[in-house]
Symmetry: C2
Subunit: 131 residues, 2 copies
């Protein structure tokens, strides 16, 4: 069930614009795909936490993320796993525990998240002073 940019049929009538054509379109699709992965209130935070904290259990995430409900955490983690950004491993301890860890591929998101965070901090400052 891969919904790759289905929302945007690649039809662009160039009735008046002869400039923006070829690879500009690919960028749009890329951005949408990327945003699909990142979208959702918690995705980025989960990845960030895992990126920063290493291997963690469900409960750890539930406690650290602060505000997230179990259902959401569960669902978002499934999404991330489907995208091969995190791994899920079940430990056969007495009360069963599950550990989540970011994949090598998932680490490639660090750049993105970092730039988002950096911009956010800057934005925060700007919005504080002015007004």
């Amino acid at each position: 069930m891969n919904k790759f940019s289905k929302s945007h049929p690649v039809t662009v009538d160039l009735t008046k614009h002869t400039c923006c054509t070829s690879d500009h379109n690919e960028r749009v699709l890329a951005i949408n795909d990327a945003m699909d992965v990142i979208r959702g209130k918690w995705k980025v935070q989960i990845i960030g936490t895992l990126l920063f904290g290493g291997k963690m259990r469900f409960m750890d995430l539930l406690r650290i993320i602060d505000g997230i409900a179990a259902k959401m955490l569960s669902k978002e983690l499934q999404d991330l796993e489907a995208h091969q950004l995190v791994t899920r491993t079940v430990k056969e301890t007495k009360p069963i525990t599950v550990e989540y860890e970011i994949t090598e591929y998932g680490k490639s998101l660090e750049t993105v998240i970092k730039s988002v965070a950096d911009w956010g901090i800057q934005h925060r400052r700007k919005m504080m002073q002015r007004k």
Copy 2:
């Protein structure tokens, strides 16, 4: 009506974790604020288009973005203007026209968008081959 991370009260009980404290919290807030600006199906695309195409009229955007409805474009542009990422200038031509342009501050988002786009392309390739 500034809703700065109101969703996440900064209460983190450290019953068991003594590590993640101080500035980690600030990063979370920063990320949320940044995502608030970027969130929405069209925001990034609009900024990207303006970033790439320079000064543009409403109709241009409406045609280029392909798929967006006037209402959405209008609303998103208002949001962006409120965040001081774009400027809106009315030209007193015969049928009135309005031009939108990205601000200097808005250009600071280029880094973010670029990293998102780059990752998206890479992600796209990966998902194509495997599976």
